[in-house]
């Protein structure tokens, strides 16, 4: 049963096409993340799910009911906004009760709901305050409380954490995740923070320029990004993209990596049909920094690790690891090494690459060669 189905939804303002045919589908209880750079249409899509804005064409269904023509109040949704949008003239309690009053929930039941929500979010002591007397984190909680009070089929969050400081953001992130696990509600959550996307989502839709570039589970998106854009957007530090010429040897893909003085041949995984068509041509090798590391840190159970020599250009300690930048085929490439094995600028290091995790992309279409 689909909790939310978005079918070929388009939105244009005059001649500007903001959404260019979005298709998404999630099940009850799933946590859907819409992630993408600023201006890609995330809020627009969310507003259309909420019914705050009309869609130009396509269909949106919530709990298997097409809602295209329903007003926001009839869609059985609740929304948390980036600016929290608390009613400044009302106390916290009134803010939470506002929607209940309009829906003519009996007074006694209202009190019960407010008490329950306040307890869940630990805002009992704030109920009589005005929003202006609250801190950012408290406002955030109240905004969530207002949404929870209504117990809707679908929760919509539009960058709810982006106005909080870094520490609070991490705390609230965990709390939202706990809340989701406890209540089992279906959530659509907009963010432009890829870490938030990875940690919170069951399903992630990576958007760009009004299109969904990939829709899948966090692990799918991380391990098998559909294209260069998704590969570069998710993951921090970002995936390395190294231009290489593709070869084939004994059923395996082979590429040559040049550290500036010696070209070294590297054997990747078994070559696929799609990859075979590119033999002898230029492709882009995608390697995440943690898949390029010092021999000691590499998984010892991997037998076919490929080692290569390189010269350290810069080291950036992060604490647990040190990011080592080397040059391969003329581009800066980041490896994640153990601090002890990181070396110094100018020093030669041995790195090992996990060939099963390395990805190949077509430079023209930017699609991954599966």
């Amino acid at each position: 049963m689909g909790a939310l189905s978005i079918r070929n939804v388009k939105k244009s303002y005059g001649d500007t096409h903001i959404l260019k045919g979005i298709d998404l589908e999630i099940d009850k209880g799933q946590f859907l993340i819409l992630v993408g750079p600023s201006g890609c249409g995330k809020s627009t899509l969310l507003n259309m799910i909420a019914g705050l804005d009309d869609i130009s064409s396509g269909e949106i269904a919530i709990a298997d009911r097409v809602v295209n023509k329903l007003s926001p109040k009839d869609r059985d949704i609740a929304m948390v906004f980036q600016s929290y949008a608390l009613y400044p003239n009302m106390s916290v309690k009134k803010n939470i009760a506002f929607g209940l009053e309009i829906r003519k929930v009996p007074k006694a039941e209202q009190e019960e709901i407010i008490a329950r929500v306040a307890k869940t979010l630990q805002i009992e002591h704030l109920l009589d305050r005005k929003p202006s007397q609250l801190s950012g984190g408290q406002r955030q909680r109240v905004a969530m409380g207002r949404a929870l009070a209504r117990n809707p089929t679908l929760f919509l969050f539009d960058e709810p954490l982006s106005n909080l400081d870094a520490k609070l953001r991490v705390e609230m992130r965990t709390e939202i995740k706990l809340l989701h696990q406890r209540l089992g509600t279906t959530i659509v959550y907009v963010t432009h923070d890829q870490i938030e996307a990875m940690t919170l989502g069951d399903r992630i839709a990576v958007m760009k320029d009004g299109e969904v570039k990939q829709f899948g589970s966090p692990q799918e998106i991380y391990d098998t990004p559909a294209n260069l854009y998704v590969a570069g957007f998710i993951g921090s530090p970002a995936m390395n993209f190294i231009p290489v010429q593709l070869g084939e040897e004994g059923g395996h893909a082979v590429v040559v990596l040049d550290n500036g003085s010696t070209p070294q041949s590297v054997r990747l995984g078994p070559i696929s049909e799609a990859q075979r068509a590119f033999v002898g041509k230029q492709v882009i090798l995608g390697v995440r920094p943690e898949q390029l590391t010092d021999p000691e840190s590499a998984h010892s159970d991997r037998t076919n690790l490929q080692s290569l020599q390189a010269t350290v250009a810069i080291t950036e300690p992060t604490g647990p690891d040190t990011l080592v930048t080397v040059t391969l085929n003329g581009v800066k490439t980041v490896a994640r090494c153990h601090p002890r094995a990181a070396g110094h600028p100018g020093q030669a290091v041995t790195l090992v690459l996990d060939p099963t995790k390395a990805l190949l992309f077509d430079p023209a279409s930017e699609k991954r060669l599966a």
Partner: protein, 292 residues
């Protein structure tokens, strides 16, 4: 170093005294007419004729005030300013309230419920704020004629509401564009409709702007003479017109003390409004976005 600091402080002190002196001179200059009006209104006619304009009254007499309020002649009527004062009140209060409320409503629509052409509409309204009174007199007279409204007070209420709307709309619209639209979105999702959002959420946070409109409209409408003299007649005239008639009525000796008292009576409401609401006026004009 120390010497330098010493010189600076004496310099600063001198500058400060100069500033005070200039300010006091200005205050005296501006207050002088009020002083003359007040002191003259408490003098007897004899004292006015023989005495000095700037001298204090030898004895306080309220006769002139009494006469101005209830028995001075404004043309052929001799009932003082009282009936006209009440005319002005009866005209001003509804006109101020209606123009403020409708202005708030216009501002709400023009900022939160934009429609095709709403920006053009707002631009046209803005042009209205630059139109001088004189330009609209003729068309206004025609419209009033067509509507066949006879009652002076009703006519003036209509005229002032229409002329004031562009200002009140401008004030409210400019305030509401600073209010995050998400507030309205949140209320819509909560199930609130067009009017509930306006009355329950936007109007309550508009107190500073409401104050600005009330003060602005009160002074505009109370002090208006031109519309009053043109669109009202006889015993329906506002106080500004009555004051003019009173001062210009020439039977016998000019009663300066009565004139002065009447002028002060006519100016009193706006003075009081400013004294009470002045700080709201400034606050409202500088009010920014609502936080949280």
């Amino acid at each position: 170093m120390a010497e330098l600091a010493y010189h600076q402080t004496t310099g600063a002190k001198v500058a400060r005294y100069v500033i005070y002196a200039v300010l006091i001179a200005m205050v005296l200059f501006y207050l002088a007419p009020l002083f003359v009006m007040l002191s003259t209104s408490f003098k007897s006619l004899d004292e006015i004729r023989t005495g000095n304009l700037l001298s204090l009254p030898s004895s306080i007499s309220f006769d002139a005030w009494r006469a101005a309020w209830s028995s001075a002649c404004t043309g052929i009527e001799c009932g003082g300013m009282a009936p006209y004062f009440s005319n002005s009140l009866k005209m001003m209060i509804p006109a101020v309230l209606i123009s403020t409320l409708v202005g708030a409503f216009n501002g709400y629509i023009l900022s939160m419920w934009r429609f095709k052409g709403s920006d053009t509409f707002f631009l046209l309204l803005l042009i209205g704020t630059f139109l001088p009174f004189q330009v609209i007199i003729l068309p206004m007279a025609q419209v009033l004629g067509m509507l066949e409204i006879e009652d002076s007070t009703t006519r003036l209420i209509l005229v002032h509401v229409i002329y004031g709307l562009q200002f009140t709309t401008l004030f409210f619209r400019n305030y509401y564009v600073t209010v995050p639209g998400e507030l309205v979105s949140a209320a819509r999702i909560d199930g609130a409709g067009f009017f509930r959002i306006f009355f329950k959420i936007l109007l309550p946070i508009s107190i500073p702007t409401i104050m600005v409109c009330l003060i602005w409209q009160t002074t505009q409408i109370w002090n208006d003479f031109l519309f009053g003299v043109i669109f009202s007649s006889g015993d329906g005239q506002p106080i500004t017109v009555a004051l003019n008639n009173l001062v210009n009525t020439s039977t016998g000796v000019k009663q300066y003390n009565v004139d002065m008292a009447a002028a002060i009576i006519a100016a009193l409401p706006t003075l009081i409004v400013y004294a009470i609401g002045g700080k709201y006026f400034v606050r409202g004009l500088t009010a920014g976005a609502v936080k949280g």
